[in-house]
């Protein structure tokens, strides 16, 4: 099994995958507790729109994915705070709008080929050294901010109004959290793919919640589940030449079902 690490691209894929597993699961805990699960789905499609623009304009699609996901995150928060418009409908509209625009842009630009496919479902072959640097740098910043404000995010997730009246800057932190999530999703798009990343964010936490333990333990369990899924998913992807995002998500699902069975009462 270890011979797969003889390939440079596999080493890169694993480094990227491990960083993403850490980021997705830790941010995912807050996303789930905050009931933001659908936002992840929407942002991943906005990131895909960014990829499409990057592919056609021929610059690193990772950068444009980050920009577009951030923009979408801010738009969602703006709509929510300015018009109290925060419904599934708004998110669904943004999601399908982004996806449709991405497809149109790519076909007009003549780039409708395998490379878009790899951004939809993830590909371990595609991770370049440049990507690793981008993922590591943005990933480190995101993780730092998540940990720095984890107590505040936790309080807000539990009771936003009491958090606010106790002096926590709820509006700022909400914006910060969706921005971090947007960045993490955009970073993950290469390895896991835009259609599947929100599954890697959400499902490890939902599985961890089945254990009914305190906050710290929940985060740790979800982290372990994400790491295990990414590791086994990428291994399967390598040996059977399957898209890595899809194998990773199936591994996550398998562990989720396992945790349901273990914790059945």
């Amino acid at each position: 099994m270890l011979e797969m690490f003889e390939y440079d691209f596999m080493q890169r894929a694993f480094i990227a995958g491990i960083i993403i597993a850490i980021l997705a699961s830790i941010s995912g805990t807050f996303v789930v507790l905050r009931r933001y699960s659908l936002i992840g789905e929407t942002l991943s499609h906005s990131a895909l729109l960014g990829v499409a623009v990057g592919l056609v304009a021929e610059f690193n699609p990772l950068w444009s994915a980050v920009l577009f996901a951030l923009f979408a995150a801010w738009l969602i928060e703006y709509l929510r705070s300015a018009f109290s418009l925060y419904s599934d409908a708004v998110l669904a509209i943004l999601l399908s709008g982004s996806l449709a625009s991405a497809v149109i842009i790519v076909s007009l630009g003549g780039a409708f080929n395998n490379s878009l496919f790899s951004y939809l479902f993830g590909s371990i072959l595609a991770v370049s050294s440049d990507d690793i640097v981008v993922i590591a740098v943005f990933g480190a910043i995101s993780l730092f901010l998540l940990l720095l404000f984890s107590k505040e995010f936790y309080f807000i997730a539990y009771d936003e109004e009491v958090a606010k009246t106790s002096g926590i800057k709820v509006d700022f932190l909400n914006l910060l959290l969706v921005s971090i999530v947007a960045i993490i999703i955009a970073l993950s798009i290469r390895v896991v793919g835009s259609l599947l990343i929100s599954a890697l964010m959400i499902i490890p936490t939902i599985a961890a919640l089945q254990f009914r333990v305190g906050f710290l333990k929940t985060v740790l369990i979800s982290l372990c589940i994400a790491l295990l899924s990414v590791f086994s998913g990428m291994t399967l992807s390598f040996h059977f030449s399957l898209p890595s995002g899809a194998t990773i998500v199936l591994c996550v699902l398998f562990i989720f079902i396992l945790s349901l069975v273990i914790n059945r009462r």
């Binding site: 997730a157 009771d159 106790s166 002096g167 009914r212 929940t218």
Partner: protein, 254 residues
Amino acid sequence: MKFSVPIFDVKNLSFVLKEQTILSNISFEIFPSEYIAIIGPNGGGKTTLVRMLLGLEKPTNGEVKIYGKGLSHFNEWYKIGYVPQRASLVDGSFPATVLDIVNMGRTSQRRLFSTLSKSDRTFVHDAMQKMDILDLADKMVGTLSGGQRQRVMIARALASNPKILILDEPNTGVDAASQKNFYALLRELNKKDGITIVFITHDIGVIADDIARLFTINQKAIICNNPKQTLSCEEMSSLYGIDAHLLHNHRHEH
């Protein structure tokens, strides 16, 4: 008392929701170390009023000042402990132990990068002791009974070591013995530590001796500056459909 700066200064406050007047033209001041009880019928607007005091609801008209400042300029929120009415209605699967929840009471006063200090832990411990939930510390909140959960929420508010406690029917579902302890605790916090208390309750008779003033809220506010003279309060309250006999009867039992 009139010479000190009021903690809350409310002027001509109104709240209209979809053309329905919930609160109209309410004015009052609340001074440091006062113990205010708010009563009124269901739907009378008590919760709405308190939410406007805390900036959670925007008044249609009028203004709330807190320590002489507009709400958006106020930056000492850590002085306020708030227990909302729906406090016990939380998602049962939320991954939190009782200790996790009470620790939240310290969150807004922590410095960046720092974890709970020794004094933080002392505040948390004392608050849990006061609410008699020390033995529940490691239980998941989702597994608690309604009354136990309510006590956890009160403990969280106490853990922040507030100067002002705002309680919206915090002890619904709490058993009689614990309620009695809770009223005694509020009296002590108010008399001994000088904490300002704003307490929405339907259980006015029991605390009538402790409170400084009584606000009756039913769209309009009636302020009873001397609730010990129950008769006049009673008359005014009954105008608005409040059963102030409760107040009267309880007084004579004591």
